[in-house]
Symmetry: C2
Subunit: 156 residues, 2 copies
């Protein structure tokens, strides 16, 4: 709405701008979606990282899998710890660095929101053809790879 660009943007630039807009939209939508579960988009994402981990992980390990800094991951972990959705365990391999996993309550909560999300996702999926989804996924992934910072680039 109100986006009549003065010069016609090239398609690549248009996609980048749409990524920014879609990101903002999905975060706002996600905050609403997660609110009845007493979650925000950020805490939901951390729950997902914990739920998807094959074993309890340290804060820096979780940060890497989520693509954020260890300090950022730690903040969300501390919030979830305080709400007892996550438990902190001694790390047998590292005295200073505890490992984290979902608590029983955290598992229940994540399953509930995950189930509701899956219902939504399967509705959304029907809006698109498989080819469209595959192409969009490829383009997004390629754009990300093409914009890795020098220090992130070793096995792109």
């Amino acid at each position: 709405m109100s986006d009549s660009p003065p010069e016609p943007y090239d398609q690549f630039t248009a996609i980048i701008l749409q990524i920014f807009r879609a990101n903002g939209q999905m975060l706002s939508w996600g905050d609403r979606f997660a609110a009845p579960f007493n979650l925000t988009s950020a805490r939901w994402q951390m729950l997902g990282a914990l739920a998807g981990a094959p074993r309890a992980l340290s804060a820096p390990q979780l940060a890497v899998t989520m693509g954020v800094t260890r300090q950022g991951a730690q903040k969300q972990l501390d919030l979830l710890l305080h709400e007892e959705m996550v438990e902190k365990l001694a790390n047998p391999y590292h005295k200073r660095s505890p490992i984290y996993r979902l608590s029983a309550a955290g598992k229940v909560l994540y399953q509930r929101i995950e189930q509701e999300w899956n219902q939504h996702a399967s509705q959304m999926r029907q809006t698109f053809s498989a080819e469209e989804l595959t192409t969009a996924l490829h383009v997004l992934n390629r754009i990300r790879e093409l914009h890795l910072l020098p220090e992130e680039r070793d096995a792109p």
Copy 2:
């Protein structure tokens, strides 16, 4: 890297996650790209909104075109004012609400970064077919429309 999801995500969920990742990547990349111009991604975006406006606009008007709150837009305007990239003018139609436009220095700066971006964009564009770009753009736009919040939804 290290993204072997335990359960195979459906393609729709995968796209949403890729949008988050691509967004973060483009913001980091954009901060690097804009740094030699003494800009950040956020101030660059505001320069773009000012450059694209048909006339000087008030802070709330700029906020609407950028999809942020008026307070958020005001913060970036204040920073750009302080660096004299933007000028504040009296609004003939509204005594309390000044209007903003690029200063001469701001125009020069924006042209410089815009030119360098266009060079980059035309390189990137060659990585994809026109069909891929069109499809990706369509999917992103449709995802955004499908996730408008109730109060944003009147003429989707």
